[in-house]
Symmetry: C3
Subunit: 358 residues, 3 copies
């Protein structure tokens, strides 16, 4: 059971073109994306209503899409505008267009009730589209349930172990206390590790060897969006009190979107606001992040295989798991509320119907 | 549930030899084929009754087959003729031989009630064995249910879209009306597309650029056999009235045989009666057909994946689907009749048994 | 359902080191192995109790193992000795150590009730650790249920067919009668083939062409351990009466250990007591055995695929199957006894509990 009434990241802007349809399966439903005549992102179910051929194997014709199996053509609103050999187009040949919003290089999609699709709910990721920041957008495919990835992102105590030589650093980081604030839309995590050695990737960027004050402050929001302010400053200068002079600062935007119960999309970026005109810095930072995320990928797939061998395994909650506990609770609550709306809508229809037939 | 009481194409003649056993799974049952001492095709279940080892991993010995796990030997009629270390061969060690008929380069097999296996029911494919025609026999394996391939072959309106640059041609072809005659054994489809540009593969063969009258006249027969007269003649000379002067003519024989519920065998050939002494023509025609069938393969597998994601998907019938609708109905009817025969046979046995025990 | 209260071969000694954890799944349960500070083999469930990460992706630290996801550390007895960020370690963080015994180059493991784990039950394989014998230890992974491999090893009548050019030899071998003695722990099989041509692998080793007396005398013990005295001597010199002069003699130790219901571990060795200082002899003998075991692997996987296509297939018992019939019966008996013990233990607990709450 997936949360449908929420905004999911569906793609990076550059993945979607006006000439070639692009397919991605979101919470179990294949979706075809392309750009309409005004460059706007369009999304339809990636399944021709005739015989289920994927429209993504079709052809874009002047902002519309033609199924290249038997030739049915659809407008960007999902209206079927041509059926070869037929004068009258059956209403059942139309497809429900999906709500999409393109913002700061991310394409967001709403898979649930369109009446609830409020673009105001989309979190702000301004730095993905700001001249003050540089980053390399990237994507990894996971063959695991999205919650295992969320667990990983909600507890950075794994950094010094899993990412010892990349993002990690000294074991002391795991001892630092993360402040967790719960909210209705996720958690805010605030972790400072003061007067410790710089993380390997920070050393790579800066050459620093003296101790630093390091912070990771991030929101992790339903349905799986991580937005982070992180960085390191020379130890003791008062970074925690606000002095970020000589600091290296990062803005991270990451999003997990379920593909199926057993696979997930992972969009990520790590932006920097220093040396923004030096593409080597961007590339090196990106390379270090990718190396670390490969470590996550390996471990989370191993964890998934381990869980598959024992479906009765109960995870043992530790204090470091309080953020992920809240997030899982929040997802369940949202999904239950969604189910409740569906039941109520059904009851409402029934009540109307009772009136009509009375 | 498969139709068993029918003739399936099991192999091309050249696939079966007198020296090496050949295995192919037909409607879920592995079958081993070889040639007996008189060159006749022999077929037995490909499973030793002892411990289920495949006989196809065995050895042909003077027209008989020896299981190379523990050495049991079987005659071409399925009789077990040797069990190493035993004097008396248990009756349970014998295998039921399957009815096979080799005709015009195709090997047909009857998987159902042998009492119903009338070779007179095998359709005529004389041109597969005629000096007046040339072709290259071929085979493709599909990982889809056979009905999706049948659907494809029963509706040529996909030609100008899926096969735009191979078999297809102008979109007008899809607008031409196919005359469909239903029968108890399948459908006959008669489609003329007059005064249109030649199909790309016909252009390749002939160099023609002027318009042609093009026909596709074919029977599509239970359980999945397509036999087609097709061709193109200069437009307006009266091809539809019977004048095939200067025409290029083809005879196509294609057969779909289920391997399992999720996979299928596809045998095909496209014969020509012109330039029969020029192997380059045969090769070029074959190459163009294979290129087109690769397009079918890609689309049908994509369609299969799409359907797998939504088992509740209902196909939307269009007028172009009338032939495939009849074929699916006919297959269901035959399968129901087969089930009825099994039930009646059971009732007959019960009645006999009641008499005996009374 | 697996037999748990038994000793399984888990590994060759050389597979387990003091520096890198080693993972192997035994009867469905992943186990991590390493050597403790005194070189002893240690085995724990390969699954961190925190979030199920495999400990085998962790790090050995002074004879203890650290999970490299979130840093929990475990002693060789399974005690959790560190949880980063916590002072008090929850008791649930401990793991039950598994009983292991290293003997003659094999590591044995007991997956069931530790109270029953009597090392005295481990069969003697002294030649695996004797200066009088030479061999090359080896391992093959199978994707089949372990019983199909046991069947193979329990009936050598397949040698002249499946292994015609390797271990096999003349078809007469299959006609020789194997004497089968049943016991509570397995079967003893005694087969002599007198005055027959030497097996191909013996020819390779000795250059012999004259006839030999050949023997295969072996125990096949629960849960799947084959211990064999085999060899060939010049025909007629009285080898069967005890004269092994000029004979070539082998000691084979083989063990099947289920990995899952559908996959198995196969440990094997073929030791020789002649030319023990000539590594070419050891290598050649090993090469011939591996070639033959590849023939088994191919056939048993083919048999497994054949059985998968027809789950209702009933094997047809022949006289050659008497040993395997007893072994399958014995395994079932042991598994039932194990279930009975569990039920009784449950009843005992209930009775105690009734007393307490009364």
């Amino acid at each position: 059971m997936f949360l449908k009434d929420t905004w999911y990241v569906a793609a990076w802007s550059h993945e979607i073109s006006a000439t070639h349809p692009f397919s991605r399966t979101i919470i179990g439903q294949p979706v075809v994306f392309w750009r309409g005549e005004n460059g706007e992102v369009v999304a339809l179910p990636d399944r021709c209503p005739h015989r289920a051929a994927p429209l993504s194997k079709g052809r874009i014709e002047e902002g519309q899409i033609r199924c290249m199996y038997h030739g049915l053509k659809f407008s960007s609103s999902g209206a079927c505008v041509q059926v070869p050999g037929m004068q009258h187009i059956p209403p059942a040949a139309c497809l429900p267009a999906l709500r999409v919003v393109e913002r700061s290089n991310w394409v967001w999609i709403w898979m649930g009730d369109p009446a609830l699709a409020d673009p105001g709910l989309i979190p702000d990721t301004y730095w993905l589209d700001s001249p003050a920041w540089r980053y390399q957008p990237d994507y990894i495919h996971y063959d695991v349930n999205y919650l295992l990835i969320a667990d990983n992102l909600l507890d950075f105590s794994h950094l010094p172990f899993l990412h010892e030589t990349t993002l990690g650093g000294s074991a002391g980081y795991a001892e630092s206390r993360a402040l967790v604030e719960r909210s209705d839309s996720g958690v805010r995590i605030n972790r400072w590790f003061t007067d410790g050695p710089p993380a390997p990737f920070v050393k790579n960027l800066t050459g620093w060897s003296a101790n630093v004050d390091r912070w990771n402050i991030y929101d992790f929001l339903v349905p799986g969006v991580l937005l982070m302010d992180s960085g390191s400053a020379p130890a003791g200068q008062g970074a925690q009190a606000g002095n970020r002079e000589n600091a290296v600062q990062f803005r991270s935007a990451q999003a997990i979107t379920p593909e199926s119960e057993h696979s997930s999309h992972y969009f990520f970026s790590q932006a920097h606001d220093f040396a923004i005109d030096d593409p080597r810095v961007t590339a090196q930072l990106h390379g270090d992040v990718v190396a670390a995320f490969k470590e996550d990928w390996d471990m989370i797939h191993a964890q998934q295989r381990s869980l598959a061998l024992d479906p009765d395994f109960k995870m043992m909650p530790l204090p470091v798991d309080n953020a992920l506990g809240h997030f899982r609770w929040l997802m369940n609550k949202r999904i239950k509320a969604q189910q409740q709306r569906v039941v109520q809508a059904g009851a409402g229809l029934q009540s109307v119907s009772a009136t009509v037939t009375a």
